[in-house]
Symmetry: C3
Subunit: 489 residues, 3 copies
């Protein structure tokens, strides 16, 4: 039993290194107090949210942007907190960390994003004006951070994640400012700004945080039956609400309508491609939950840029179909290469769900923009391509701008990810040891047993939970012994 107790101490009692007793509270409190002070000095209601401003001019109530965007906002909000949060619960022993850290960094990021995005493109007379559109944009930026979280899931402390969020939100806002405000890029659903950026940023971070001995936690880096079902909750919510995501900040009217419709058909086509590819790439034709949970969503990523354009349902379905194929192939063939050759350990496979489909989406957007004609868009051109409509650029040039934007996004993401990765290597963040990755009990109280119970039981319990595979062998052998004994007598 001494041996057991030794193991128990080692694996259950928190090391000083990963102890969050002071680090996490101090980080949370300082960050929140800074946020509050900055909000106090910089942030104001916009004119549709402010009691005085709104009533100063003559409006009908239904003209308030709230009624155009709030239902979409709520769908986006569900994607951020339930979609991303539960998608990552597929790990057998990291459900608390998946939903819980997702919750923490999202709650921080949306506040910080309000400030950063406001600073870059929401200032009015020295003040940041906020309303439902800024809330959606803050959620979008948060989504980008959560994509990067997927790459480092299970291998980082909450402090590392908050630190990553601080930098990533900032760089996101810079990139978004360059694209949307300086260049006039169109990217309503964020194929570039959200997905490509978040994916390559996260991949670079996880590259720098490479753990050569991660296989010490290999037995926890997989799913069990119920954890896969929890993950499907995330998948299905992301899938259902992606039309709202892509259409949330497009222009009112036909634009929102069209974007939602394009995304709907892209996702449907992507799903069939995913099921087909999943069956064909396995040895015995069985579907793999990893593909279904992730690749079926690639269709939403891939129409993020072009969704608001006159892509047609036909075009959307082709794009979705391609995205599904690419994504499954990535999980099957590219991810092992990334891990073995490039030392990129991508827990959730974000390269396959957000990286490649994001790049595809950017290219589709560039091509679709280059092909835009007044014949097709009519007076709706002013909503979709204002610069083309007012003659300051032609469609081909708009396509070029879109392509350039992809390059800029990739550049900022890769460079930013590398730098932030090195920051996160500083030995002050309480990162988990290689033997305790993908394990909730490092940062969470996991209620195996009530403290008042018999101590011996608790020891056994913890022993069993840490050596589950050993216990299973023993238990099985035991069962067989008894069975043989019974069969003989």
């Amino acid at each position: 039993l001494g041996n057991f107790n030794g193991k128990l101490k080692k694996s259950n009692m928190t090391d000083a290194a990963t102890n969050m007793r002071l680090k996490l509270p101090i980080t949370c409190f300082i960050l929140e107090i800074i946020l509050i002070i900055l909000f106090g000095t910089l942030v104001q209601y916009d004119y549709e949210t402010d009691a005085k401003e709104w009533h100063n001019t003559s409006h009908q109530d239904y003209e308030n942007d709230f009624y155009f965007r709030y239902p979409s906002f709520q769908d986006v909000h569900v994607m951020i907190f339930v979609g991303f949060g539960f998608l990552m619960t597929f790990l057998q022993r990291y459900g608390f960390g998946s939903v819980g850290f997702n919750f923490l960094i999202a709650a921080f990021s949306l506040q910080w994003a309000t400030l950063m995005q406001g600073f870059f493109h929401g200032m009015h007379g020295g003040k940041i004006h906020i309303g439902v559109e800024s809330m959606i944009n803050a959620d979008f930026c948060t989504g980008s951070v959560l994509i990067s979280f997927g790459a480092v899931l299970g291998k980082t402390s909450p402090i590392q994640l908050l630190t990553m969020a601080i930098f990533e939100v900032t760089l996101f806002a810079v990139n978004e400012f360059i694209l949307l405000s300086l260049l006039g890029t169109k990217d309503a659903g964020g194929s570039m700004t959200i997905h490509t950026f978040g994916a390559y940023f996260g991949l670079m971070v996880t590259r720098i945080l490479y753990r050569p001995n991660l296989d010490k936690s290999k037995h926890r880096n997989s799913s069990v039956y119920h954890s896969d079902l929890f993950a499907m909750i995330g998948t299905v919510y992301l899938w259902m609400f992606w039309p709202s995501f892509n259409s949330a900040i497009t222009a009112h009217g036909d634009d929102q309508h069209r974007t939602a419709l394009n995304t709907y058909y892209s996702l449907a086509a992507c799903t069939l491609a995913t099921y087909g590819m999943s069956a064909i790439t396995s040895h015995d034709g069985k579907l793999d939950m990893v593909h279904i949970q992730n690749a079926a969503l690639a269709g939403g990523v891939a129409v993020g840029t072009a969704g608001e354009m006159m892509l047609t349902p036909f075009g959307s379905m082709i794009v979705g179909f391609m995205a599904g194929i690419i994504s499954v192939l990535g999980f099957k063939f590219l991810s092992p290469i990334l891990e073995d050759k490039l030392k990129i350990q991508d827990t959730c496979g974000i390269h396959n769900l957000h990286g490649m489909p994001g790049v595809l989406g950017a290219i589709v957007g560039a091509v679709t923009a280059a092909l835009a004609t007044t014949d097709v868009y009519g007076q709706g051109m002013a909503d979709v391509f204002p610069a083309v409509a007012d003659g300051s650029v032609n469609a081909t040039k708009q396509g070029g701008i879109q392509a350039l934007s992809l390059a800029i996004t990739l550049g900022i993401a890769v460079l930013g990810g590398l730098i932030v990765g090195f920051v996160l290597k500083l030995p002050v963040f309480g990162t988990p040891p290689d033997t305790l990755c993908f394990e909730d009990s490092v940062y969470w109280e996991v209620s195996l047993m009530r403290p008042e119970r018999d101590h011996r039981v608790q020891v056994h319990f913890i022993y069993i939970s840490n050596h589950k595979h050993v216990c299973e062998i023993m238990c099985n052998i035991c069962v067989i012994y008894v069975a043989v004994f019974i069969f003989l007598t």
Copy 2:
């Protein structure tokens, strides 16, 4: 151990028959490519979705149908993917199949339904015009297929399900065309077109696919504690969003408002009836999760037709109350008869949730229509009963049309289900054997154990998972032996 290995081979390794390696990819790819080609040649944005068309005429943005229907659409979408998907996860070993096949056939059906419904009642100058209303209708049609899926759940291969969907969507569109376009039937929430049709179609299919030896999989045809909780996610989402389902395509204004309200009260009354009936029909007064998960929803089905009419909250509650009673009685007394005498093996009990309440809803709709007077409806008559408002039929005749529509629906559903059932019996679909129904590992990679682990452990594991009930006995005996031993010493 030789015996165990033999069993292992039989139950775990996929038979050639159920191997989906080529069948599923070929089916998915061919179907999707056909869909894409047909969308390319036939489908166009409608005038509220098209950039040029919408801006050609003078509108306010808030007049776009998107703002009237998109929130309802999203609620319906949640019902289709989360509601139906998770409702069926009650089976202990079929969670992946429930959510996963639901996902696959829904993604296919909504595309195919767009074409079929468009072909029958959405053609404009040779093109199918689509927008948010067609998306809702496609989801509705998909719902009907998922109802039928509930009857054959756990006993069919994904290819069978896709084949069923192809035919059922087509017949759904035919029936819908006859009812709504030819006869002028009112059925906004689909008591007839969706629920009655889907239920009796599915019951006929499962009748033809009757398995006399299904009791070989009996031990898996039941729930466990956590699977019942997952199923409650489905139930609650269906229950909450049913007001949106019934009101999604009614006329704007008071009609949507009234339909949602009627459905809300019908469901509330139904829930109390369900709890009461569940307690009274059990031996010891304990509530049965099967009833709560299903019968509490019957109130939504039963006001599917009359919900948009001036049914009054009073009428809605009476209908919901009756639906709950009928549904629980069906589960308790009728389902065993259907299975034993009529050889209808109805996995989810769709006859009790969709079949009988659907018929009740049709009858309630016919009676409510026959009683419609201008005194009650005023100028709102034009929205609810256009034919009565313009004098082409009187209310009594409208009632007759409604009753006739039920008969037609039943006829098409039963006949269609029989034929499709025979098609699905062709021995090319990779249907699971009687011994492996309600078992995910036939079509899904179920991650019991990583491949790199000790082979012997894997053998024991699979042995245990396939012979759980035997192991349980042994394990219990073992525990008792040790207990006795300890008590004695």
Copy 3:
């Protein structure tokens, strides 16, 4: 084995006392029939829901209140049924009771609340007029009952809960009438009417129902890994949709917009405070799921009153931050005192989530109201403080009214809870014994085993499920014995 059978009989077979065979059906049916009769005699569609009334006057469809409030209503509906329902599934053996009884009492309460609220402030010519706003109000009142349910969770029979709901809904309507109609209090998100009322009412009920021997069920009064994940579904939905909750019945336009925004930032700030406090209050810096699941929501409660006012995002974040701190401290230090000294056994810790944050919210509302100036509100004053706008009271007095309202709410809640607690002590409600609290199998068929299986297995199974902790010890000992045996040989 005789001993086991004895225990089996005692714990599994329902006592006559807790048998619901007749009590529950009779209660449900009588209640529902009374509801239906009262609806038939008293309730009418309001003018936006009635076909004739709506078409009698000239409107645009988009002016119907349905489009202003229905999306918010659906979010509130999700909070009531999924949010509250799943939040309470954290108990390891009470998932059915949590979701299922939540469902039952919510379905009853929303009907009864329609009548009670209509009776007090919705009568028009002797009839109660209903529409989407009354539906939201009914859901709000239901929320209050569900808060109280949290205090008595696991220790009450469904009949007790329905009885509590009858009284609580009535008193809620009385309190709401005094506040909103008589005094002109503003409380759109219900910090007082919903949260403070529900919390202190529930705490008084559980005080009267104090069980000195509740520690006999102590081993079930805790969570397991998966039950905590189910609870997080509830938490996250409550968190996400709280902006809709607080803004659901505020005035159209800027008011709804502002309320949603304030709530969004309050919750975000609260979440960071919660994570920080959770880490600092534990011995080894590990996060406690109880805090995350509950305290992170306190920010929504605390801006329930002031959310519609010009609180500013800055103010909202300060309030949220304070609420998170208070709530975690409550869980850590106050709850044990309440239980040990005041004999208040509060299963879900509603005092920390709804009680204290509700009081905080009321105070914040009073202060914010007292500070209202025309300079800040402009003509929007008429929406937020009609009495101040028309000069019948000044802002300071409005603040005083708000403070008075808190006192009245506390008074009615405490007094009402005491009385209702005594009613619920009557020995006719089938309350569970101290040994079987927090246990689903008292009122639910828990499908451990199918009836057709070997009886002996069933006996062992039930034995094991009732004596899980004993079995665990034995099983562990057994494993270790075999392990030692193997190690030695």
